[in-house]
């Protein structure tokens, strides 16, 4: 079966950790993960600048590792990202901001990618809030 996952809260939220564990279980059970779409505060997951305390679980790093290992299509909503200060090189240049903090494997794109994944998947499962 094909899954699409949407993440609405940042990496330090329990919801993000649950989303990651769910994504891992999807693959472990032999299902397909079409896309993970990051929206609202979920865009912070893609920030290269997240520094997690030593005694806390680094979910952002775990997301990154998971996406790279399984070549997951990880898309971050550009409008939500800009609003929250998560920019890649191109956007940092375009808006003349001093730093880019979104790099590979994350991709900036529009809500169309969320809709496309929702249309193609057998299930869209969203995680957010707390």
């Amino acid at each position: 079966m094909k899954f699409a996952i949407a993440v609405y809260s940042p990496a330090h939220s329990p919801a993000s950790r649950r989303a990651l564990l769910f994504a891992q279980a999807v693959l472990a059970q032999g299902h397909q993960l079409l896309r993970v779409f990051f929206y609202q505060d979920g865009v912070h997951t893609a920030s290269s600048n997240v520094v997690t305390a030593q005694d806390e679980s680094d979910t952002a790093a775990q997301w990154r590792a998971f996406i790279i290992e399984h070549q997951v299509d990880a898309v971050v909503c550009i409008a939500a990202a800009l609003r929250r200060g998560v920019l890649n090189e191109e956007e940092a240049r375009r808006y003349q901001r001093p730093a880019a903090n979104l790099t590979e494997p994350w991709q900036l794109s529009g809500l169309g990618q969320l809709h496309e994944a929702a249309q193609q998947a057998d299930r869209l499962v969203s995680f957010g809030g707390h």
Partner: protein, 97 residues
């Protein structure tokens, strides 16, 4: 089309559970995750509403365990593989974000 409703907010501080119960059909189910598992507190008002709603109730085992909530024969506790399977047992998943 049946819906699996996923909740993750505490029912004591939040309206999501009561709104969910208002909108749910009898073919639907609820999965409690995160702080929403506090709805399993025995003798509580949320548990009373939940248990009288006549719908299947599931909970993430790790969240119930983390909060030392007692086991409940009416509620199946799931691990993540079980969670994935549950999403396939219903036609769609609606998370109350």
């Amino acid at each position: 089309m049946s819906t699996l409703h996923v909740l993750s907010h505490s029912p004591f501080s939040d309206q999501r559970l009561s709104s969910c119960l208002r909108l749910m059909g009898h073919d639907d189910a609820i999965l409690l995750s995160g702080d929403a598992v506090y709805a399993l507190a025995p003798g509580s008002e949320p548990w009373a509403s939940l248990s009288s709603a006549g719908v299947a109730v599931f909970a993430l085992a790790e969240d119930a365990r983390a909060r030392a909530l007692p086991g409940n024969p009416a509620v199946e506790l799931l691990d993540y593989p079980g969670f994935v399977e549950l999403t396939l047992a219903y036609d769609k998943v609606n998370s109350w974000l």
